[in-house]
């Protein structure tokens, strides 16, 4: 697969403060790429530089082979951007917002109507096209923005926290649109999110902290590396269970009447369970979540900021 976004040794400094420190990564064409990290990790700086808004201090950033600081106009035509805060013109209708966007992106007049139909159908807003944006709900506005971000057929779509502040149903819908897009039009999607379960849908994930990329892999690989499955056991005979756990060298903590056992040594755990099966009153095995991955890697910072 070809990389559509190439970042090499990118550094951004504000005076003496280094926001992003010598990061490098590639994003494959047609993939969904998630950028995670606590606030102030350098995510926004990186995205804003990729979107041609910020200037870099050093390094190379290419989108579709074009330099984001030297060929701004070319890059701008190649990308679609949906910012975290709305950038719609609230005094105008959905249709007028889209038309204005087409003017900015130099889309031929003959194609405009067809494209409006296409993108509005994609986000289920065809019926509402004459409505004023100011009168729409938060979820609808976000859908309008996604539609607008797509109308010039970008190769890369940047989504900065596309589902923040939306209800679970709308979030699920937005994700449907995103996945549909990626599949049907082979658009590369570069997004940031705070919802860890959303990050798992993505093909690749980069986690940033303190201006550097601390982890970069598939969600599965990250989970395998940073989380452990856990068994939650309640028993009639606590003494015997503790003895068995010690015997098979399994780490555990006792809390509220149940035992939380690290399931890293699966063989040992199975032996404990089979020898203790008459006494077990309840057993639950929990897979590690992406939240665990995130906390494992950046935990301290997130707690401080929250």
């Amino acid at each position: 697969m070809n990389p559509i976004i190439e970042v090499k040794n990118f550094t951004k400094k504000y005076g003496n403060f280094t926001a992003v420190n010598d990061i490098s990564f590639n994003v494959e064409e047609g993939s969904i790429f998630a950028f995670l990290g606590p606030n102030g990790a350098g995510k926004s700086t990186t995205i804003n530089t990729l979107c041609t808004i910020f200037e870099k201090t050093s390094g190379t950033l290419l989108i579709d082979g074009k330099d984001v600081t030297k060929q701004k106009s070319d890059v701008r035509s190649t990308i679609g951007v949906v910012f975290q805060d709305s950038t719609l013109d609230t005094k105008m209708t959905i249709e007028e917002n889209l038309k204005m966007h087409c003017v900015f992106y130099n889309i031929h007049k003959k194609e405009v109507e067809e494209r409006i139909q296409f993108v509005l159908k994609l986000v289920d807003l065809l019926e509402e096209r004459k409505k004023l944006v100011g009168a729409l709900s938060g979820g609808m506005k976000r859908r309008v923005e996604i539609a607008r971000g797509l109308i010039h057929y970008p190769k890369v779509l940047f989504l900065d926290e596309p589902t923040t502040g939306l209800d679970p149903q709308t979030r699920a819908h937005i994700w449907e649109y995103i996945i549909k897009l990626q599949k049907e039009r082979n658009i590369t999607i570069f997004l940031t999110t705070h919802y860890m379960e959303e990050a798992e849908i993505c093909g690749k994930i980069a986690i940033m902290d303190g201006g550097v990329i601390v982890a970069h892999d598939t969600p599965y690989a990250l989970k395998k590396k940073y989380t452990k499955d856990k068994a939650y056991i309640t028993t009639k005979n606590e003494e015997e269970l503790e003895k068995l756990l010690l015997q098979f060298e399994l780490d555990y903590t006792k809390k509220d009447g149940y035992y939380k056992v690290e399931a890293e040594n699966l063989e040992g755990l199975l032996k404990v369970l089979s020898e203790h099966k008459e006494n077990i009153t309840n057993l639950e095995i929990k897979k590690g979540t992406f939240n665990d991955v995130f906390l494992e890697i950046t935990g301290k910072k997130i707690r401080e900021e929250a």
Binding site: I53, D85, V103
Partner: protein
């Protein structure tokens, strides 16, 4: 070019859709005409209503075009400017579109009051007067749109901006001779009026509207359409040139400033309005 037209249309649409704003933009000027017209009834001015109307029309054009500062700031806060920023649209074209739409809206508002004025006191004797009036309204609208846009690009705080705007607009309006003849001002304020560009816009516009083109210089001064600064007479034509120079300066300054303004500096988290552009 398409960008310019699209933004121009956008400005006009916003003007037409804001019905409440439109009504109030007419009520205030006419209220001023009524109050000040009554005050000056027994004074030297022969037709106080027409005199006041001409001042009020140009003040409306002035305030409306200066309002481009507010609408541009609104566009920054609402995020629309950010959308413009990441698009391939030329920033010069965006600036031009904004300037033209503001000047057009200002002219339209001026025309609305002028039409009402035609029923309550203004009479045109020459067929060419309406054309001159229109041209001067457009010109003065453009000049102060430039000033407005320039102000907007310098804004760093959305809340203090409204106060600054009022603090700038009010004295410029009241020390321009539009409502109160300069001869009635105390001396210190009169000197302030001399450095106020609106003074010259008002004088020139009043001469056109009241058709005082054929008067002698002395009469022009007496009618307050020429300005005498310690014996130095600024004729209406000179006034117009002064306005043009100031206008060109600000149109250029505002366009350059707009192209170079780093809108990304504006942190627009809606929850913390005071921190916007801090």
């Amino acid at each position: 070019m398409n960008t310019v037209i699209a933004l121009w249309v956008r400005g006009l649409k916003a003007f037409v859709r804001n019905k409440t704003g439109l009504v109030f933009s007419l009520i205030f000027p006419l209220f001023f005409v009524y109050v000040f017209g009554a005050i000056f009834k027994n004074d030297v001015i022969d037709n106080p209503i027409a005199y006041m109307l001409s001042g009020v029309i140009i003040t409306t054009v002035f305030e409306s075009s200066l309002n481009l500062a507010s609408t541009t700031v609104d566009d920054m806060v609402s995020g629309f400017m950010k959308e413009v920023l990441v698009s391939p649209a030329k920033r010069v074209a965006v600036a031009m579109g904004q300037l033209l739409s503001a000047a057009t809206v200002a002219t339209l508002q001026g025309i609305l009051i002028l039409i009402i004025g035609l029923f309550i006191g203004i009479r045109f004797r020459h067929w060419s007067t309406p054309i001159y009036v229109l041209v001067s309204m457009i010109a003065i609208g453009l000049v102060f749109s430039g000033v407005g846009l320039f102000m907007a690009t310098k804004v760093r705080n959305g809340q203090t901006f409204q106060i600054v705007k009022t603090a700038v607009t009010m004295p410029l309006t009241f020390l321009s001779g539009a409502y109160i003849p300069l001869s009635m001002l105390p001396e210190t304020l009169r000197y302030l009026a001399y450095i106020n560009p609106m003074t010259y816009a008002t004088a020139f516009f009043r001469m056109i509207t009241l058709e005082k083109t054929n008067l002698s210089t002395a009469d022009l001064v007496k009618e307050e359409v020429a300005i005498s600064i310690n014996g130095f007479i600024v004729t209406p034509v000179m006034s117009f040139i002064i306005i043009l120079i100031i206008g060109l300066m600000f149109l250029l300054l505002s366009t350059i400033s707009f192209v170079h303004t780093d809108f990304s500096r504006l942190n627009r988290s809606a929850s913390d309005a005071s921190a916007i552009w801090g």
